[in-house]
């Protein structure tokens, strides 16, 4: 199923022409309205009229989250405030949040793009959709909300938290579609089980998960626990919110709305543009946004791109599941470690729960990694040796994936903090 078949199945040549046209418009817009971009473009001798091919994009300097912060709050807006009808901001766990503004047209574009993502994942007007993302400055909830309304689904804006009530409503309202972070969906499954609610008591059939990365193992776990199809979608507030890309039913990569965003993959160290299929940092240029356009924004997300034809019929390129964020990456004893690698080992391991936490410490000059996992299987308690074996097995699996010795610590169930939004997996105590 398609929401915008013409755009989603556009010929690649036509797409390139459209991208070039829109890129020129965007560059003209920011050159004339945002002093920051004018200065940046001038510094490399570029001006709107000098852009003649998509290749010229490579000449444009990158924009980073720090650039946005330095122009807090409205310094990078390309429209006067009277044209801005909405503000959103990143969660801003460190320092000032990054603030973005939408014009009326931007809100409309946003709804359209999220509608595409929902329909591609299998959502339709018959769905009763529970949005368990926190409503507020965070874009996740509003984005999905608009997209779901756009396609005619019934939206239940429960927001995040109050998990037992969420589950009661899910049952009573006969929710068919769940929107949340993967980690919250997992926690909800746990709570549902404790409440004695089984898969067959619910009408849930589809999950649209996003706002944090997750692994294929996590998907399997969610599909099995809820008895649903679990799909992933991607976005970030700086770019527009959710709607940048999303999985189709083939579930092999997320189709990027390339008629609105030009993706590139770069080497995060050198900034060199990499080829299709090579793994690196995703860089996005928005080409239709009015209020808050971004040129070559460094997302920090590590992925790769694929423009092979997809079985679903879409011609839009796909990005792989985000492998980690370049700023999530931990360097432990000189080894690069992404929390997602640890997740892929732990989820699906018998006798333990799916929640985990990594604690990094420094002992003298040496980094140590401790991984906490919850022991959930009482049958392991008969022999001490079984528990020790379990620790050893996990340790060995981690070593195979990371090439690093980790200490595995079994902890009691429910002692690792649950999150109703983005999970906090890493505690780095080195600094």
């Amino acid at each position: 199923m398609f929401w915008a078949k013409e755009q989603e199945c556009i010929q690649r040549d036509d797409l390139k022409n459209l991208q070039l046209l829109r890129l020129k418009e965007t560059i003209t817009r920011v050159y004339n309205h945002v002093p920051f971009y004018k200065k940046r473009l001038d510094s490399v001798g570029l001006s709107p009229e000098k852009i003649s091919s998509l290749e010229d994009l490579k000449e444009i300097p990158f924009t980073t989250k720090d650039d946005i912060r330095e122009h807090y709050p409205y310094g990078l807006f390309a429209e006067p405030m009277k044209k801005i009808v909405r503000i959103h901001a990143s969660s801003g766990t460190t320092g000032k949040p990054t603030v973005v503004g939408y014009t009326k047209n931007d809100l409309n574009t946003w709804s359209e793009l999220v509608a595409r993502v929902i329909v591609a994942a299998g959502g339709n007007e018959n769905d009763i959709a529970q949005v368990a993302f926190g409503y507020g400055l965070f874009t996740g909830a509003f984005g999905l909300h608009y997209g779901l309304e756009k396609i005619g689904a019934t939206v239940v804006p429960t927001s995040s938290g109050n998990t037992e009530k969420q589950i009661m409503l899910m049952k009573d309202f006969e929710t068919t579609l769940l929107v949340s972070t993967p980690s919250y969906a997992l926690y909800m499954a746990e709570v549902a089980q404790e409440m004695g609610i089984k898969k067959c008591d619910l009408k849930l059939r589809l999950g649209l998960f996003g706002a944090e990365g997750s692994t294929e193992e996590m998907r399997n776990e969610l599909e099995q626990r809820w008895g649903i199809i679990a799909t992933e979608n991607y976005g970030m507030s700086e770019l527009i919110g959710p709607g940048v890309s999303g999985e189709c039913m083939v579930k092999n990569g997320m189709h990027i709305a390339e008629d609105h965003f030009i993706p590139e993959i770069i080497d995060p160290e050198t900034g060199k543009v990499l080829d299709w299929g090579e793994k690196g940092e995703l860089v996005i240029t928005t080409i239709t946004k009015e209020g808050f356009p971004l040129l070559r924004y460094r997302t920090k997300d590590i992925t790769w791109l694929n423009n092979d034809p997809c079985n679903c019929g879409r011609t839009l390129a796909r990005m792989a599941k985000v492998q980690g964020r370049s700023d999530d990456m931990l360097i432990i004893k000189g080894v690069n470690v992404f929390p997602s690698q640890i997740e892929s080992v732990l989820i699906g391991t018998e006798h333990i729960g799916p929640h985990y936490q990594m604690i990094v410490r420094k002992k003298g000059y040496v980094d140590t990694l401790e991984v906490l996992v919850e022991l959930t299987d009482g049958r392991m308690l008969e022999k001490f040796s079984e528990l020790e074996n379990l620790e050893r097995t996990i340790k060995h699996k981690l070593y195979t994936v990371l090439g690093l010795d980790a200490k595995v610590k079994l902890v009691e169930p429910k002692t690792i903090q649950r999150s109703t939004g983005k999970a906090r997996r890493v505690i780095d105590l080195r600094n």
Partner: protein, 143 residues
């Protein structure tokens, strides 16, 4: 003759044991015997209580990882060599002991011991043959 024993997974941090015994107390469950085996990070608490099913349920409800298994309780004469007679009987029958612990009952001059073995029924037969007194579940729960 088999006695139900509750095992609870505990992290080695302060207050965990108090938490477990508190929950049992609140639910009017009486502890007859207990033992803890631990490493630096975690321990396994083993309990004999008067209402094992209730104990398993309330501890699970409170989020603990719990299991319930069958063990044997024996009473041996409280004098040198008393325990040895029982253990020799099991050894002769090639019955391995996973773990055991002694506990204090309110009775007699006998020493009370909990044994966890691979083949409890066979072990009971052997112990009976050797005149070792095996306590009934009711007796143990009532201690």
């Amino acid at each position: 003759m088999l006695v139900k024993q509750i095992s609870v997974f505990l992290e080695n941090k302060s207050g965990r044991l108090a938490e477990v015994t508190g929950i049992l107390g609140d639910n009017n469950i009486d502890i007859s015997a207990l033992s803890i085996a631990d490493t630096t990070d975690f321990g396994i608490l083993r309990l004999i209580v008067n209402k094992p099913e209730d104990a398993e349920r309330v501890l699970k409800d409170n989020g603990f990882t719990v299991s319930c298994t069958n063990v044997i309780a024996i009473a041996v004469v409280d004098k040198p060599g008393g325990l040895s007679a029982a253990l020799k009987a099991l050894d002769k029958a090639a019955i391995g002991i996973e773990y055991m612990y002694a506990f204090v009952g309110k009775t007699t001059n006998e020493a009370l011991v909990i044994l966890r073995v691979e083949e409890p029924d066979k072990a009971i037969t052997e112990l009976n043959k050797n005149d070792i007194r095996v306590l009934t579940a009711e007796t143990v729960y009532g201690l």
